[in-house]
């Protein structure tokens, strides 16, 4: 009887834990991705307009965002995918600082791809299911 109650309690706890895992990590990734995408878009636009100062500001913001969010993201995302994203941010920032706009643009496009991959893994969609 005691063990049945324990099992029932554990099953309820597991259900709640899974529910939390379905909601919180995806919410965290969604807000991170929204913020990162906004910075990437603005940095890309700035590069196209040859506004390197603005591009540098945005890339710096991207690096700061990554530094802030990586420990939490690595708790539920494949570490190599997270590393690919943060290195793309870092490369973009370094390229902007040395004035290599095409390399910076390429790195931002890599970051966008890495971000899409992370979203594809964690955020539920029929495509990611299959």
């Amino acid at each position: 009887m005691g063990f049945s109650i324990f099992r029932a309690c554990m099953t309820v706890t597991i259900c709640l834990l899974l529910l939390a895992l379905f909601l919180f990590p995806s919410g965290m990734l969604r807000s991170f991705a929204d913020e990162a995408e906004a910075h990437i878009r603005r940095a890309g636009d700035a590069l196209l307009q040859h506004d390197e100062a603005a591009a540098e500001r945005e890339c710096s913001a991207l690096c700061a965002l990554a530094q802030r969010s990586v420990p939490a993201l690595e708790r539920f995302l494949n570490h190599s995918n997270v590393t690919a994203l943060t290195s793309a941010f870092g490369i973009a920032y370094a390229a902007v600082r040395i004035g290599d706009c095409s390399a910076a643009y390429e790195a931002l496009s890599d970051a966008e791809t890495a971000l899409e991959r992370l979203k594809g893994i964690e955020l539920f969609s029929p495509n990611s299911l299959l």
């Binding site: 063990f3 099992r7 554990m10 899974l18 895992l21 539920f76 494949n78 570490h79 190599s80």
Partner: protein, 235 residues
């Protein structure tokens, strides 16, 4: 390296907890689905143990999902015979009145050799002695011998019947096992006084087992040449 070690310890304890929660017994008692689930859980756990690039949650979430599915299916199969039949199958009669059932054997992929192996492991060397051999859903074969070959029991021999009483461990490696005493509704002074009466100190006992009627089986330790004593101390 410490990370790998700690991940392995954590996942091992986690898998142990999940397997205990599934309430399964030894491997030979598992239904095919339960066995499959156990193997998949082991594989999922080992993936995250070895690869530190993968967060532990990549193993934990699928294991929890399998556990929940298993719990739901267990509950459904308890409630519905149809679900139970679908999940576990139905027992199949392989031998009926000494005659093998080739159609059933083909359907269940059970060869004559397999069947003879199973019969021999149960001490039966002649198919003709078997009234029924049934392939159970967990893959074991239950055998009912024909009446003429069945072992006689006390009732057949008209011997006096004694009530079956379970035995409980009361001393293990010199230590009194209080859980065993509780089941027998006696206290440690009772067991100590029985042993003292026979000149045995509890610390010299390797193993002692007692039943509710006062039957006591005592095996002394190595220093006393593993001597075995049997006493009957009712009351």
């Amino acid at each position: 390296m410490l990370t790998l070690f700690l991940r392995a310890v954590f996942l091992d304890l986690f898998v142990l907890l999940i397997l205990r929660l599934t309430g399964k017994r030894q491997v030979s008692d598992l239904q095919p689905y339960d066995l499959l689930m156990t193997l998949v859980i082991a594989d999922l756990a080992s993936t995250a143990i070895a690869d530190t690039d993968i967060p532990l949650l990549y193993s934990i979430v699928p294991i929890l999902a399998l556990y929940l599915v298993q719990q739901v299916l267990s509950k459904l199969s308890l409630k519905s015979a149809a679900v139970r039949r679908f999940l576990c199958g139905t027992p199949q009669v392989l031998i009926e009145n000494g005659v093998m059932q080739p159609r059933v054997m083909r359907r269940t992929n059970y060869t004559v050799r397999d069947l003879l192996d199973s019969l021999r492991s149960k001490g039966i060397f002649d198919v003709g002695e078997v009234a029924y051999a049934i392939l159970e859903t967990n893959g074991t074969v239950s055998v009912l011998p024909k009446d003429a070959y069945a072992q006689p029991v006390k009732r057949d021999l008209k011997l006096p019947e004694t009530p079956a009483v379970p035995k409980h461990i009361v001393i293990h490696e010199g230590r009194i096992v209080t859980s065993g005493l509780k089941k027998l509704h006696i206290d440690r002074t009772r067991i100590e006084s029985i042993l003292n009466k026979h000149g045995i100190a509890p610390k010299n006992v390797f193993f002692a087992q007692m039943d509710g009627s006062g039957g006591l089986h005592v095996q002394l330790d190595d220093a006393h040449h593993n001597r075995v004593e049997r006493f009957h101390e009712p009351g």
